[in-house]
Each structure stands twice: as structure tokens, then as C-alpha cells.
Amino acid sequence: MTQRLEVVGIDKHYATPHGVSRVLRGLTLHADRGEFVSIVGPSGCGKSTLFNIITGLVEPTAGSIRVNGIDVTGTTSEHIGYVLQKDLLFPWRTVLENVILGLEVRGTSKKEARERARQLFAAYKLEGYEDNYPADLSGGMRQRAALMRTMVTDPDIILMDEAYKALDYPLKIALEGELLETARATGKTVVAVTHDIEEAVTMSDRVYILKAHPGEIIDELDVDLGTTSTDINERRLAPRFNEFYEKIWRGIEQRADVA
């Protein structure tokens, strides 16, 4: 059976004045429907490069990206949406206009786009803010708007790059819980690139551990906290949380010592 997302044998080299810099080597991973997969690694492991390769913004030196079995290497796919730490809202557009950006670009009529977007505002706790500008919104609300902008285009795969890093802890937990719920309810595949082990353990079904220089997968781990709750605190207090946390931590640390 084909996976939602397949990353096959990705190499990425950059030419520098001092020779070739190898950022990623032989990276192979996958994520299936309804799965939450995290990619964890220390800084310098090429997470952002990998992220840009999956979104199609950067071409890999070798290897391919397949979405639903179709090769999309080096091109952006309508099945992939992403959320970054920066909310990337256009300040001159209202929240509603920001949310419909993707639909607008793809040629959906403004009327239809607005209707589709309006239905989401209640679920993302932004009702009543449709016609406000991003400057009026708090950090959490802006991130919710950014997630809405991605979700309204109905992608199969959502890529996250440290999306909630800049938020304060209670808000981060609240948004993570909301994300888990949305992903479960819609059967989306979420791929999160992060160096936050705690977040990876709490959220993921599976974790890939990367080492740096060059970025390579050194371990793959199924995370089963033994709870189906989407409440982040509950997940964090699950008996097996520490066990997984330690496994990942040791995986990263071990390699850091060698390097």
C-alpha cells in the first residue's frame, strides 16, 4: 500500500568555497494517513533543508519525494500544507483574507473561498475576528489563523516546523491539543520537524531521530503512550512518557559525543 508521504534516499549537497558541504545523506522516511510523525535532531542536522525539500521549495541532490505514490520532487504539491514558527500572515490583509490566500491563489472564487473559511472560525476560536488585521491579534490567535490558512486548503499532509516554539507554555499546550484533535478528526498526516523532544514524545505516533553533519537518520521509534487522550497534560503524565523521552535523548546524546 502506498504511504501518504514517502521520502526516499534524499541527499543534499551544497557547494561552498571550501568544497562540498553534505547536509543530508540517504534520508528515507514515510508517514501514513492519520499518522503524527516527528523528526527530531540537534541543530545542524538539516531539519530546515529537509522541510524545504519536502515542501518542494528546494531540490534535493538525489532522491525523491512521493505524495500518495506520485513523485513531486522539486515541485510544490497541493496536498502538502505547512505551518512555521513565523505565522507569515500578510499584515495588510484581514484575518479572513489571510485565511483564504491559498484558495484565492488556486483560483477558487472569492465568494466560495470566504464561505468555506467562515465555517472554520468557530472551531479555531477566532469567531468575530474575521475582519480584524493580524496586528490586532495575540500570538496564539495569529498561529491559529495560520493553521486555518493551511487547513482550509484541505491538504493531506501538514508539515510543521517548530510552529509553537515562540508561544508561552500554556498556550503551546492548548494549541498542540487542538492540532492533535484536528489531525485525528480529519485523518490528516502531520509531519513535525523539531528539536523539542518533549513535544515529539507527547504528540507523535512515530519519531525519527537525526544526527548532524551530515543529517542522517540514526533511529526510528514507535511511541505508544498508552492513552488516546488529546489532552497534552494527560499525555505528558502518561507512565511511559519518561521512557520514550530518555530513549530519544540518549539517541541524540550518544551521537553528539561521537561527533
Binding site: N52, T76, L88, W92, L101, V105, R106, N132, A135
Partner: protein, 277 residues
């Protein structure tokens, strides 16, 4: 017992000091404006009384009342309005072609880094030419009528607008461009929906800078050859040693710059409404 005695004595002095130290912003503004008006009134009345008493030569320096008289007679005869009309028309047309056209070109250069790099030394070279140096040439090429002044005004605006708006377009956040690309946006969609609005504050600052340059261009053009306009009025005054006419002309130029500034500021507020909603 001593503490009870000292307390009421100290209490009234504290609020008094605080009041003088920090006036409310509104109060401060009123004080500022009042003082500014007073300064102008003082300067004008010193000038007026100086010339009346003979301490200041009215032949060399005119006088506020004489300037006012000149403005009045020329307003009644209609000469004033036609001069203002001619210069305004030159400024507006030249501004639309030079500043607005330059801004559009600068934004469009975003499409091609190659063309931008190719043309940049030439744009810089054109920008380095003082308007005074090319003005005689434009009179020869485009005649002594309005066209030549419009060309001079456009010339004095175009490079500043072009370079500021190009720089603004280049400053578009690459992460936002990537976001647009991830939605599958075409280059023209990225340009229209992202680059143009995000560069708008740069474009407007270019336009603002150019108001002054446009007026200079129009006046310079009129100095070299003209039969109407505020520059013509100033030139006429100085060649006849009618100092009041010269000063009246200068005052009108100041008012015109003020009005154009207000117009562009209104445009800026309209475009930037999202900043302070």
C-alpha cells in the same frame, strides 16, 4: 509626635511638583502650537515694523503688508490663480509620469534580477545628473511650453521613485514568497498579491521625497524659459526688483509643498490603514 507634625507640611508640595514636570500630551501640543504661532507672529511683526520705521530697507526686503498686497491684487486680477494652476499642472503631470511611473517600473524590476543588475549603473548615472544641468536641453527638445516643464519634473522624480520602490520590492520577506509558492502561486500572483502591497510603504516614502524634487523641477524649468507659473512670477519679481513679488512666490511654493504633502499623507494613511486599525 514629630512625624504627625511633618506629614501635612510635606504633602502639598508633592502633587504640585508632579504637575509641572509632566504635562499631558494634549496640553503639551497646545503649548507647542501656541509658541509656534507666536514665533511666526513675532518674526512677521518685527519685519513689518522694521521696514515701516526705516530700520530695514523695504526695497531689499519687502514687507509682510506689501507681500499681502501683491497676493491680493494678483488674486483679484486672476494672475495668481493662473500661475498656481500652471505650476500645479506641471507638478502633477510630471509627478504622475516621473514618480508614479518610476515606482511602477521599480516594482516591475522585481521580475528580473538580471534586468535590474544590467540597468543599475545607468539608473545610477541618470540619477547623478542635477536637474539644473538638463533643464536647458529639455527646453530645446520640448519647447518653452508646458511639455518641457512636465519632462523636467518627471526627470527629477523618476530615479528616486524607481530605486526606492525597487528596493522595497526586493525586501519582500522570502518566507512569504515561499508560502505563496507552496500554494502554487504564479510569479504574477506573487507580484500582485505580495510584492506590491509589501513594498507600498517604500513606494509612498519615495513619493513623499519627490514632492520637493517635483516643485524644484517645475520652478527650475520656469526660470529657464516660461511665460506663466509661480517660478515665472518669482523671476519676474527679481528682474524688476519687486522683492514683495519674489517673497509672495516663495510663500506660494511653501503652501503648494504643504498641500501636496497632505495629499500624499492621506494616500499613505489610506494604504496603511491596516497598521492602526
Amino acid at each position: 509626635m514629630t512625624t504627625v507634625l511633618t506629614e501635612p507640611a510635606a504633602a502639598p508640595t508633592r502633587p504640585l511638583r508632579r504637575r509641572t514636570a509632566t504635562a499631558s500630551p494634549r496640553r503639551r501640543r497646545i503649548i507647542l502650537h501656541t509658541m509656534q504661532v507666536l514665533m511666526v507672529v513675532t518674526a512677521l511683526s518685527t519685519w513689518e515694523f522694521g521696514t515701516r520705521s526705516g530700520a530695514v530697507s523695504s526695497f531689499l526686503f519687502g514687507s509682510p503688508s506689501a507681500v499681502w498686497h501683491v497676493l491680493q491684487t494678483r488674486a483679484i486680477s486672476g494672475q495668481l490663480w493662473s500661475d498656481i494652476g500652471v505650476t500645479s499642472m506641471e507638478v502633477i503631470l510630471g509627478f504622475l509620469i516621473g514618480a508614479v511611473g518610476g515606482s511602477v517600473l521599480g516594482l516591475l524590476l522585481w521580475y528580473s534580477q538580471f534586468v535590474a543588475d544590467l540597468t543599475s549603473p545607468f539608473i545610477a548615472a541618470i540619477g547623478s545628473i542635477p536637474v539644473l544641468a538638463v533643464a536647458p536641453l529639455t527646453i530645446i527638445w520640448f519647447g518653452t511650453e508646458m511639455t518641457s516643464k512636465v519632462v523636467i519634473v518627471a526627470f527629477s522624480c523618476v530615479v528616486v521613485s524607481l530605486t526606492t520602490s525597487y528596493r522595497g520590492a526586493r525586501r519582500t520577506d522570502p518566507d512569504l514568497i515561499n508560502l505563496m509558492k507552496s500554494f502554487g502561486a504564479t510569479r504574477s500572483q506573487i507580484f500582485r498579491k505580495l510584492v506590491v502591497p509589501s513594498a507600498m510603504s517604500w513606494v509612498v516614502s519615495g513619493l513623499k521625497l519627490n514632492i520637493g524634487f517635483a516643485l524644484v523641477g517645475a520652478i527650475v524649468g520656469e526660470y529657464i524659459s516660461s511665460d506663466a507659473g509661480v517660478g515665472h512670477m518669482i523671476l519676474l519679481g527679481s528682474s524688476n526688483f519687486t522683492i514683495s513679488l519674489v517673497i509672495a512666490g516663495i510663500a506660494i511654493v511653501m503652501v503648494m509643498v504643504l498641500v501636496f504633502n497632505l495629499l500624499v499623507s492621506a494616500l499613505e494613511r489610506f494604504l496603511g490603514h491596516w497598521e492602526r486599525s
